[in-house]
């Protein structure tokens, strides 16, 4: 009887000891085990439109068609930098080949240059690994954009108990790489071309409702 009581007491002690240590709580919530069937995986985070552009699949090309160049979309969200300052860098590399862009960004002193360089390298690796791009240097930057990220507000302390509300500014950076050499730059419009156009506009005028 004493042993039975001891076992009973020991059992309750054991249950108390092990009560906190249930294996289900150790495992990640998105596992097979019961009691924690909360599905917390990547589907709850919204996939942006730019990332979805990498998912379109074109039908197979016929033998006579010209080879479709590969397009790779990549972006980085919520970079701690201003979108206006980032715009200068984005405009700099638009239209360059990827090697030239990487070289320019490496020796640029801005903070955003480092971030954009990382993004370009990631995109290049993605292109070779996942999107069947043959030569990693055979890419050029077709589009390069910045967008506004989510801003947070903080208090900026001034003297005499005054304060201001400052915005912590974030931006997104989007890039589209296309396979092939960069397109030749458009020739600038000369004064002669503009004059020719003006004269042509004058000549295009017609008289209506007259003899």
């Amino acid at each position: 009887m004493a042993a039975g009581r001891a076992l009973g007491a020991g059992g309750s002690w054991l249950r108390g000891l092990l009560g906190w240590a249930r294996p289900e709580r150790w495992l990640a919530s998105s596992s097979v085990f019961p009691l924690s069937c909360i599905h917390t995986s990547a589907c709850l985070q919204k996939v942006g439109k730019w990332e979805k552009k990498n998912r379109i699949v074109y039908p197979p090309q016929l033998p006579g068609e010209p080879r479709r160049p590969a397009e790779i979309y990549h972006c980085r969200r919520d970079i701690k930098y201003s979108k206006d300052k980032m715009w200068y860098l984005a405009k700099l590399i638009k239209g360059m080949s990827i090697d030239q862009a990487l070289a320019q960004l490496e020796f640029n002193d801005k903070k955003g240059a480092k971030v954009i360089k990382e993004v370009l390298l990631e995109a290049q690796e993605m292109a070779v690994k996942n999107h069947n791009v043959e030569f990693k240097s055979n890419l050029h930057i077709a589009e390069s954009l910045t967008g506004r990220g989510q801003y947070t507000k903080r208090i900026r302390y001034h003297g005499k108990g005054m304060f201001g509300i400052m915005k912590l500014v974030r931006c997104h950076y989007f890039v589209k790489l296309v396979e092939g050499p960069p397109p030749p730059p458009e020739p600038r419009k000369t004064g002669f071309d503009q004059a020719k156009e003006y004269v042509q506009q004058l000549r295009n005028r017609t008289l209506v409702h007259t003899l």
Binding site: G11, L14, R68
Partner: protein
């Protein structure tokens, strides 16, 4: 004098009521137990036992309280690998069947391996209408249907034709690709070459695996995300010798034969290289070191391993 002092001390501490202390007062030097934080607690019955005995008691207690049964039980519908894989004889399908060796190979039937015979008997116990003569055609149909589902990305049907172990091998990397596969003809009638039965977890949990040898002609073309040809060609039929393993959960009366895997022999001819060139990076060097041989960034034709 010491004795007198001692007596006086004792008298002070004594329980007898005196003028200095009222009768009901607490004694002057009473140790009041202070409740501290509850640290390691060892119950009475465990204090004298050795660690081994303690473990034994714990195990007995744990058995007495079973853990809650799993509310969502998982169901193993296939084994993890091919059991005792068939070793195809070298030169299979290369030698002409008129030569002596070739004839020997053709005559080499299932009956020669005892293990396969045993397994066949076990399979026939659970699946009475299984026969080594009719099964190969059904197996080939399943094979063709599974590959057609793969080409059309019909995942629901593919799961019913292919086991869970084989499914990721078939589907990996194909999400953004277009696959065009077609079965042209069968060069030799398929035949069963190997049967094995095995069980996991319990000895009564039986799975049967049957290896079928197929010599067929197929065409395969894989296009990437942009519709460019990555591998193969649609108008190029290829002769393929395959040893396909089919598995069935024998104990389940509603089980079906599904494709479980393929056996690739070592003497198999190498596959065609992929169309694009792939760069294999060399060893990472410091700026002070130089590349020993002249292989800066040469592209090589790499055979795609599937």
């Amino acid at each position: 004098m010491a004795a007198a002092l001692r007596a006086a001390g004792l008298g002070l501490l004594g329980r007898r009521a005196s003028a200095l202390r009222p009768p009901g007062a607490a004694p002057p030097c009473l140790a009041v137990p202070v409740r501290t934080k509850r640290r390691l607690f060892v119950p009475d019955w465990a204090r004298e036992l050795s660690p081994a005995e303690r473990e034994g008691r714990l195990r007995a207690a744990a058995r007495a309280l079973p853990e809650d049964r799993l509310e969502r039980a998982f169901f193993l519908a296939c084994t993890a690998d091919i059991i005792d894989p068939y070793v195809p004889p070298e030169g299979d399908a290369r030698m002409s069947s008129l030569s002596k060796d070739g004839l020997r190979q053709r005559v080499e039937k299932l009956k020669q391996t005892a293990a396969s015979q045993l397994a066949l008997r076990k399979v026939k116990d659970h699946v009475p209408d299984f026969s080594t003569k009719t099964f190969p055609e059904k197996a080939q149909e399943i094979f063709i249907e599974a590959h057609n589902c793969l080409a059309n990305f019909n995942k629901q049907k593919l799961h019913s034709l292919v086991t869970e172990r084989c499914y990721p091998d078939m589907v990996r990397g194909n999400r953004y690709k277009t696959i065009r596969w077609s079965f042209v003809e069968s060069l030799e009638p398929p035949r069963v070459v190997h049967i094995r039965c095995n069980s996991i977890v319990n000895p009564s949990n039986l799975y049967g695996q049957v290896t079928v040898r197929m010599h067929t002609r197929q065409t395969l073309a894989v296009y990437d995300r942009f519709g460019r040809l990555m591998y193969g060609g649609e108008q190029v039929p290829k002769d393929v010798l395959e040893y396909v393993v089919f598995e069935r959960y024998l104990v389940n009366p509603y089980g079906t034969w599904r494709m479980h895997g393929k056996i690739v022999p070592e003497w198999a001819p190498p596959k065609d290289p992929i169309i694009k060139t792939v760069m294999i990076p060399g060893p990472a060097l410091d700026s002070s070191q130089e590349v020993k041989e002249h292989k800066e960034e040469t592209s090589e034709q790499v055979q795609r391993q599937q």
